[in-house]
Amino acid sequence: MYNSSTDRRNFMKKMAAVSAMTAAIALFPDILFSAEPEKLLSESKGLDWKRSPCRFCGVGCSLLIGIENGRAVAVRGDPKSPVNRGLCCVKGYHSVLSMYAADRLTKPLVKKNGEYVETSMAEALDRIAFKMKQTIETHGKDAVSIYGSGQWTIPDGYVASKLFKGCIGTNNIECNARLCMATAVTGFLTSFGLDEPMGCYEDIDHADVFVLWGNNMAEMHPVLFSRLLDQRLRRGVTIIDFATRTTRTSMAADKSILFKPQTDLAVANAICYEIVKNNWVNEVFVDRYCNFRKGLTQMGYGLEDHYRFTDKAEKIDFEAYKKFLANYTPEKVAKLSGVSAKDIEYMAALYGDPNKRVMSFWCMGMNQHTRGTWIQNLVYNIHLLTGKISAPGNSPFSLTGQPSACGTTREVGTFTHRLPHGVVTDEGDRALAAKIWNVPVENISPQPTYHAVEMFRALDRGDIRFMWIQVTNPMVTMPKLKRYRNGSEKTGRFIVVSDIYPTPTTDVADVILPAAMWIEREGMYGNSERRTQYFQQMVEPPGEAMSDTWQLIEVARRLGFKKQFYYEKETHIEEIYAEYRRHHDNEQHNMAPLHILRSQPGAMWPYVGGKSTKWRYNSKYDPACTNGEAFHFYGKPDGKAIIWQRPYEPPPESPDEAYPYWLCTGRVLEHWHSGSMTRRIPILHRAMPHGYVELNIADAKRLQIQTGDKVKLTSRRGEIILPAAVNQRGLPAPMQVFVPFFDENMLINELTLDAFDPISKQPDYKKCAVSVEKV
């Protein structure tokens, strides 16, 4: 027999330990020795720490989750993560509690004669497949639809797209990211030709100035905001909060500048005016890497059914653009926006200073905006004119709200017009998708159908008869909610909802499927900085709960698509991801292989030559740049980014005599999305137990309203009674009110307007007119 040296060494060690112990016991008979001292040390006794991206917002913090006896029991920040560097926010630390509320859905429920009846998973899936077949036979394939979410994992969205676009042959796939990130997409596409930010979070370590455009980062992206504060401690950076409402971010910022709703368009143009006037233009950059275009104006607001709009770009030159800017002098814009000319000049000077690196951040303030694509174009204009883009610290950065808004909805392309690579209207893109999906290319329709708002309108009208809703809560989050709830409850509609808890959306369902959430299954999310992060299954889902991916696969097989949905149960996530990567097999979008994602806290695409790309379009960092110059905006045919001429236009509904107040809606630190998860986390619910309406102090005084008083808000679409919050978490400007949307018992979206950005089709939840009275 032959013993390896390590075995011998171990054996010797053990022998030495035993003899030492024996000797010690003999020497000190009254002292107890423990053979295994670590057994006594208990916090992590049996705790197994596993890595996962956070379930909640789009920052994508990496968490280490403590598992004991098959249950998640603790969370800490992953110190190895370049995203959160060991820190989390209160939602992240308590995220695992969201799996354990007592009313978890564990059995499928089918509505029979108005009553929900428990049934088996197989029976529920049979029923769904039967209904889909029946609907397609009687009403055509464009009568079935799926409505998903930025909380879909990458495999969820991928199989949904494959089933609906590739196999069934309808483009009726949309997601709540249309309500959330669609404008960011059109902003990127119009200016650069390719979606998602050029920079990354590391820009925060290099930038000198941060301008937050309508972004209450301290509450909505707290971990990133902590990174800003950390840089301010270390390097003395400047933080500017440019917003319509005073928030925690305003309090923490070096300067808070308030503007009137919608006038950000004018202010952005005024900043460009100042940059041009003061010769702060980086002429070499503009000359080599930019084109000038103008688009259509007076686009309307999409308030009517069947509304359609396609923008047309017209070539202009720098001189014409300068002439256009002449209308936007700081003095003129000051009158419109309420921002003093001095403040406009100050912001322009920060952007214009050649020795300052500037980062712009935004999220829903600019996305949920009837001229949202325009305002994003205008902020890109500022960065392009000064050449402050695609380089460390110079970064216009669009933040996301959902854990996989980028990874799933935008990269997999779960929108009516998109494919995993490219768009349905492009023949080449259709051919590529059909090849990988193993379907005839004719299956994929070249015509986009309905965007999210129009999809719910179609459901109301009866053009859509079957809708499957996964991982989202539209009966809380749709604007002008009443119409869409009534529409979904009409007879002859069949609604399937996959969720983990009862919500107002499961209330309208004909079949409710219990879903396995987050770490109860395997999957990946993609965050705001193009980082794809993997998580393994850590705990068992309760009851019959099943992942959204597997629910879709089961139904697809029942519809006869066994060949396309060939995946093995044990390895399906790996197989799906490998198949998905083939769509992005190029230097501009290559995704990291799964073994890399498993070994580290995510990787940023394009992942080329074993490396994440931190700054796209910059030839120093991005291997996809091929024009031999310093920058290459390869999303556009001539490699040049576009500076857009976009004017100010008023919003569809402004306060008037009958409805004299602006209503803005949004989130709070403690709750995420529609609150169906965070409200079930005790510490979060106790910190923020219900919705409220924020009022300005002067308005409250005039109306004799104090914090806690009941206040009735009325818009042209509905009314609601809420408790008042005067000078609390946020302070709206005079004649403005703010209401968070997380509370399903106070549905503020019954009041909001379903007007949307004609280019992105994303609704504006930030501006409509209401009246306020004390009750």
């Binding site: 040390l41 208990s42 916090e43 007592a102 980086n282 630190l669 005790p682 510490i683 106790r686 910190a687």
Partner: protein, 226 residues
């Protein structure tokens, strides 16, 4: 003459070159500042080294001399009451006047160095990470007791403390039974009048805690091999 012309033209040439170089450097100076190389190394936001252990050294002798205020001691029960699980950020058990403040100086007034607060009849607990200024990103006030829906979350028991609980040998210095991420400064929780009595050290003046108290083997990273 020729020589002089040569010298003059040489100087003219040098001058022109000087102007050209100066102009170039001036122009580059006007462009964006130099871009740093992107590396994967970064400074973590939470302290990764153990140097946090010495953070509040200057109070060590005061703590050693301070008599114990028997009537205002915190217990571990109080300590864990505000935490969803051992190691979770504690909630704020008292009202906070300004809802819009993120914390920072407001919280640090009392929680950076502690001290007796007559209003709450208690000693303010000391934060081990005063450099993280957005306090209310993780610590939230509990406004109500009621729940939205009941929960089945199970809180794991806190590490056992007391004589022998974490000691390898009887009477040997106990090991550290918890992770020290975000909690590198031992004296924040283990020294001074706000320290829970079960875990208050008898010798705060010793400063270099980890000289004798070492992290649990399982909590430290295993380098493998050998």
């Amino acid at each position: 003459m020729k020589k002089r012309l040569g010298i003059i033209s040489l100087f003219t040439l040098l001058f022109v070159v000087f102007i050209a170089i100066w102009d170039y450097s001036y122009r580059t100076g006007l462009e964006c500042a130099a871009t740093p190389e992107g590396g994967d190394d970064y400074v973590p936001m939470v302290m990764s080294s153990e140097k946090g252990v010495f953070r509040r050294d200057r109070y060590a002798l005061d703590y050693a001399r301070m008599p114990i205020d028997e009537n205002h001691q915190r217990s571990l029960k109080d300590y864990y009451k505000n935490r969803a699980f051992p190691g979770a950020p504690p909630s704020i058990p008292h009202p906070v006047s300004d809802a819009r403040s993120m914390g920072g100086k407001d919280c640090l007034q009392c929680h950076e160095n502690g001290g007796f607060v007559a209003k709450w009849d208690a000693y303010a607990p000391v934060t081990p990470h005063p450099e993280l200024l957005s306090c209310r990103q993780c610590h939230v006030v509990q406004k109500v007791r009621a729940l939205f829906r009941a929960t089945n979350f199970k809180k794991i028991p806190a590490p056992a403390v007391g004589a022998g609980a974490n000691s390898a040998l009887r009477g040997s210095p106990p090991g550290i039974p918890h992770r020290i991420q975000m909690r590198e400064n031992c004296s924040a929780c283990h020294a001074g009048p706000s320290a829970p009595r079960e875990i208050r050290t008898s010798h705060p003046q010793r400063i270099n805690c980890m000289q004798c108290h070492v992290p649990n083997k399982k909590l430290a990273a295993d380098i493998g091999g050998f």
